[in-house]
Structure formats: structure tokens, C-alpha cells
Amino acid sequence: MTDITSLRPLAAVLVSAVAVVPILASYRRPNLREGWTVLAAVCKLGLVASMVPAALRGDVYVTKLGPFVPYIDLTLRADALGLLFALVASTLWLVTSFYSIGYMRGLDEHSQTRYFAAFAGSVSSAVGVAFASNLVVLYLFYELLTVATYPLVAHDETDEARAAGRKYLAYTFGGGVAVLGGTLLVVHLAGTTAFTAGGIAGLANSDPTLARVAFALLVTGFGVKAALMPLHSWLPDAMVAPTPVSGLLHAVAVVKSGVFGVARVLLDVFGIDLVAELGVGGVLAAVAAFTLLTASVIALRQDNLKRRLAFSTVSQLSYIVLGIAVGGAAALGTGDAAKWALIGGLLHIPAHAFMKLTLFFCAGASTSRLTPTTSRTWPASASACPSRWARSQSPQPAWRASRWSPGS
């Protein structure tokens, strides 16, 4: 595996952040503004995709920007795991951009400039999370992601939206604090936080109690965005955001950044062997399993379509965490089991992204087409746009449709 020094990872991160400026500047000309969004999305996807062949060869693109703070380099690495996440986020951003344009214009939404600018900033942060080479850079983009998505959660400017925004900030910054604390402990214990395949060597020889505390802090911190119960409560409330936001950010980019953080912590900070040795993998797996079941049960009772999808997200995210955690718990046991659990967990990142985004798009399309009086009577929408409904149902167990199927 060789490192290729290149500005490509940086460019891939920054292209949408830079686009924020022209997007804001062209607020008077919506078509031009949306043009910038689409242009940035295409560039971003192109840049990310251009790094895939190297990743398949086993090479890694690296952007080195020198030291950032003591012990920490400001370095971006587009390794396979990161590229997986970045590719999902940037592909779906392009798709979501077109959807957003239709959705926002269809509903004649206010503050569209702010919306598109914040969206571009969020995606930048998400790709930054993907390409972070150590915990501090990861934390950097993790926090920026919070900041960039906050305007989207509070977009509606109603009391509910503001309350959701406050809750969002409280939870995610609280998580950020835990991540920061955990990162500091890792720095203290190992002298570095650079992601290393198989774990940072220094951690294995350190005080196990402190290592456990660091692990708990990091996983709690990332678990907020990964919506592990009982830290999930911001997610259903955040559904007050416009549907494309719920779709791309709260089913893909933001929540996956939390999951991705958990994956990094287990795989590249502690390493699954150490996780197994510390005995923390099993605990995490238990939490994930609990979340998986409980969230599904709660989802059953949500009449609001987006809230139901949100709880489904909570549940599905836990599949990913469960896979990773089981990988950690099983590392000392049979060899292959850990591998399959990890592959399964990580594979669910793109899989869930595509499923859930489709579902949200369908929910949003129905919302934007329905007249207000029919919001409680979904069958109208089912018969008005059956193909959309069919798509909406397809990735999920199909009985969800029963309520709206003709003649029921």
C-alpha cells in the first residue's frame, strides 16, 4: 500500500465549501445559484470517484497540510473506508441536489439561498469526516458538520423547528464534547491519534481503565450522531427539516458520520483486537442490539411518515454499529466471524443510504404534491401517484404498503 501525495482529497472536501460563496453571492438569481450547487456536486463526485481506482489498487491519496496542533497533523487520507463513505455522500448529494431544487421550488420555501449554502457546507464536512486521517481532524469536521446542518434543521423557523434545532445542537455538541474528551485521552495515552490499521500501537500498552474510558467517551460521542439509544432523541425531532435534508443528512451524511466515527474508533484507533481484549465490544453490541429492537418498536407507532422513517433509521444504523461491535467482540474468537461482521456492518452504510434516501424522497414527493387537506388521508396520494408509492415501498418489507393499498 503506497501513499500518493496529492491535493485531490483536499479538493474533494473543499469544492462544495468553496461553492458556498458563489451560492450566497448569487442569491438574487436562483437558477445561477442552483447551477453552482449542481456544478459543485458534479465536481465533487468526479474528484471522489477519481480516487477510487487507486483505492482498489490499494493505494491511498494523501493531502498533507502540516501540523495542526501538538501531536496532530492536518492530513487528509482517502483510504478505502473513507472513500466508501465519501462516495456514498457525494453520489447522493448530486441526486439530492436535483431533488432539492424541485422540492424547495415546489413548496415555494423561504431562505433557499441559506438552505443551499448550508447544504453544500454540510456535504463538505461529511466528506471531510470521511477523509480525516486522525481523531482530531475527524472531530474538526464532525463539529463543522453540526454547525453546517443546524440551519437546515431550524429551517422552518417555527417553534417546533427551533426546538428541534436546540435539541440537535445540545445533543450533537454534547457528543462532540465526549469525542473531544476521548480524543484527549487517546493523545495522552498514545501520543498520537493517527488512524492506523489494526489500532494505534501505544494504546495497547496503556492503562486499560483509561483506555476503556477513552473508548466509552469516543463511542458515546459518535454514538450521538449514530443515534444509539438513549442518545437518539434528536433524530426524530430533526425531521422537521425539509425532506431532502432529512433524506441526505439525517439518513446518510450526518448519521453515517457518527457510525463512521464508531468504525474508525474500533478499527483504526483501538483496533478490534484491543477492543476484544478490553471487553468493550460486547457492551457496544448490546447497546446496538437494544437500539435496533426498541427503535423498531417505537417506529411502529409513529403516524408521521418522516418520524417513522427516522426511527427506522435509528434501528438500521444500529445494524451497522452492531456489525462493527460484533467484529470487535469476536476478534479473539473464530477468525472469519469478525471479518464477516465487519463487512456486513460496513456494507450496510451504502445499502441503508440508498434505501432510506429513496424512502424519504418518496415521502417528500407525496408531501409536496398533496393538498393540505389530504395529509391525513394518504390513500389519496397512493392512488394519485401509484408509481411513486410503489417505489416508496420497494426497498422496505412490503407490508408497509398495506395501509394505503387500494381497497384496504
Partner: protein, 506 residues
Amino acid sequence: MAVSDLAALVVALPIFGSLVAFLAALVRSKSGWPVAVAATAAQLAVTVTLAVRAFGEGTITYVVGGFEAPYGIELVVDGLTGTMLVLIAAVSLGVLAYARRAGPRSNPFYAVFMLLVAGLTGMSVTADLFNMYVFLEITGLSAYALVASGDRGRSAVAALKYLLVGTVGASLFLLGVGYAYIDTGTLNMADLAVKLAANGYTATLTQTAFALIVVGLFIKVAVFPLHTWQPDAYAGAPDTVSGLISALVSTVAAYALLRVVFTVFGTAFLDANPFAHALLVGGAIISILLGSLLAVSQSEVKRMLAYSSVSQFGLIVAAISIGNVTALTGAAVHLVGHAIMKGGLFLTAGLVATETGARSVDEYEGLVKRSPVGAGVFGVLAVAMVGVPPTIGFAGKWYIAVGAAEAGSWTLLAVIVGSTLLTLAYFARLVERMFFREPTADLEPAVERADGALPDGGDLGGSDPGSASLGMYAAVVAAAVLAVALGFAVFGYGDVLQSTIEALLS
């Protein structure tokens, strides 16, 4: 002119500028501003030269009047001093850019302004404890005067309160210096350090001196519960003044605290006196927590920002109490960062008041529609203040936290890291109101102005009252840009500062 002479020049220059500004009024009124700008610009040039030398070639020493230490007064410029000098000059220049339109515009104001700069600079460069007291008083007196330069009754009351409390602080400091002098017979810091060590750190006299000096400086720094002057002063002063003093006065006081604790008493003293250490740790934790909580409960924006300072200086005190290289680097970084961010925030608050008349938290609703630049800059600075990377607010906090981890101070670490959330608590209120609410209907800037509530010198001149000048915009935008950009420069800075800090701790 030798480089070391520049150390004297940085003190002399602002004093000279102050005199010129005062005298220029005899020739032509409203001539203070150009004089002040010229003097400050020159000051900036000199300080930058000094700082570059100090970082490049090591500590610069200047002996006043040829009297060698320990008998004469010594001026010392090391990396830390250089930092403070540049900071003082740069912030002053920025505030001046802001002040041209915002006022006050009288020549005496600028004279006092330059005097404050001189006091702050003097506190930074001096290596003599009594000399430091002198400059502390100059700083204090000019600050009282500046606060009082607002023409409202509120300014006067605030200034009076500031005067009373500040004088107590300065007196305590003087008492402490006196005890130290009795103890050792010297006032030179380096010499004091040697002699105090010789006397033994557990001597009652030494302990008393430490306690008095530290508590005196706590008042100046505004550490809870000795902070009571600060919110009134900041909120009561004209916007220009609150920008300046919030950025610099407490900062330099904290610098003085750092200087006294490490240059005079040293880490060995703290190790020998758990109580002294506990004093610092306790002050830090209480300040961080209660400052934030009080900030949350404020309804006026400037008061909220003032309480935020109480909390942020808690972090600096925490760094001092930790007392290792990383933490002290963090203290330096956070001093600079906080000065830029908080000064910028106060100036922005002033800008917003100028544009819209909004001063209370509730009046900030929907601000982005009425003052997009103000709201935007406020938002960026708030985010920086919360400590979101890669801003300077994060960098300072990171250094201090790493220092705490290195020292194994888990309680402090938890408080420092947790302070992020407390900071968020009071800024999130504002950000939400600014961006995600409809503007309130009953607020018109013109109405506020007609009340005479505008806190500038009442000297509106011929300018359009409702508008802010380019200089005001430039000052606040520069603060926002610096708050983000400096985050990337921190590592290099920490690198060059290392030798200074190590010398300080040795």
C-alpha cells in the same frame, strides 16, 4: 538605535501619542483620531519588529536609565511579551478603525485611549513588580475614564463601580508587592524569584504576598466572584470602549498573573503550597462554570458577552494552574484568541446597535434580515468562541486540555472540555434568534436614537446616523477572518513560543 531601545520605545510611543492627541485639540478639534491612528500604526510596526526579534534571537532586555537590575527598572521582551505587544497594538488599531464613525470623537478620548495602550504595553514589557503596579494603575485609571466617556448615567455609574472595585484590586496587588519587597528587598522579578526561593516557599510572608497579588489580579482579570465590576463596565461603556477593554484589559491582567506566578514565584512555589494551587484551580473552575451560567441568564447582549469573558478567563487561570508547557502555550493562544473573538463580538454588538438599535437578546430576533453582516460575523465569532475547530477558539482550548491531560488533572480536563457546552448554551440562544426568527416589529433604530440611547459621545456630527462605516465593517470582518485563520497558524506559533515557556517554567 539598538533593538533593546525599541523596548523602551513601545512604552514611550503611546504616551507621546496621547500627549499629542491632547495638545492637538488646541490647534484643531476632532484631530485626535488621525494622531491616534498614526501613533498606533507606528506602535504596531515597532512591536512587530520587537516580536520578530524576540522570537528569532531570544529575549531582549532593556535597562531604564542605565541602572542595572536589580536596582534599576528592567524591560524584558520575550516571546510571550512580544505576543502581547503585537496583540495590544493590533487590536487598538482595529478598534480605531471602528471608532472613526462610531465615536466618541473628542480629542481627550483619544488621549486617554493612547494612555490605556501605554499602560497595557507597560504592564507587558516590565520586569519590575512595582513598575507593573504603576502601569496597572495607569491602565486602570484610563479604563475608568474611557468607560465614563459614554454620556449616559449608566456609563458613569459603571465607571464608578469599576473604579471602586478596580482600586481595591490594585491596592491588594500593591500590598502583595510590598510584602514581597519586605521579604526580599528587591522588586525585580528575576531577582525576586531567586530570593524567594532562597527564603523558602513556605514562609508566611511569601505566601501572603502570593495570595494578595493573585487575588488583586483576580479582580483585574474578573475571576468569579471578583468579577462584579466587569459586566457593568462592559455594558455601560460606549461600544468602542467595550470592544477595546474587553479585548485587552483583562487579557493583560491575566498575562500579568501568568508572569507573576511563573517568573516571580515559579512552579516550585505552587508545588510547595497546595493552597496556592487550590486557589488557582478553584478560581478557574468556579469562573468557568458560574460565568457561563450567568451568561445564559442575561437578557442584554453586551452583559452576556461580559459574563462569557468571566468564563473564558477561567480557562486561562486553569491553564496557569496546570502550569506545563502545553497548557501555558494554550494560555497564550487563548489570550490572543479570546481578545480577537471577544473584541470582535463587542464591536459587532456595537455595529448591530448602530444599524438596528438592537441591544437585548430578544431584540436580536431576525437580525440576519436587518443586519446581515452583523449577524454573519456574530455567528462566526460565536462558533469560534464555542470552540469549533479549526478556529482559534478550538486551538486554545485544545492546548489547555492536552496540558491538563498531561498533568493528569482529570477534573480540570472535564470542566475544560465540558465548558464547550456551557459556551454553546448562551451563544445558541442568540444564533437561533438571529437566524431563525422573524424580526420583531416594534424595533426601529431611529427610535432608539431619538431617545438619546445611542451611547456614543453624543457628537453625531454630520454623518448619517443609521449607517455603519466601512471601517466598522472592516474591523468586525477582520476579527471574524482572524478568528478562523489564526487557528491554522497556532502550531507554528506554539513552536516558536516553546523556548520562552520553557524558560518561564525553569
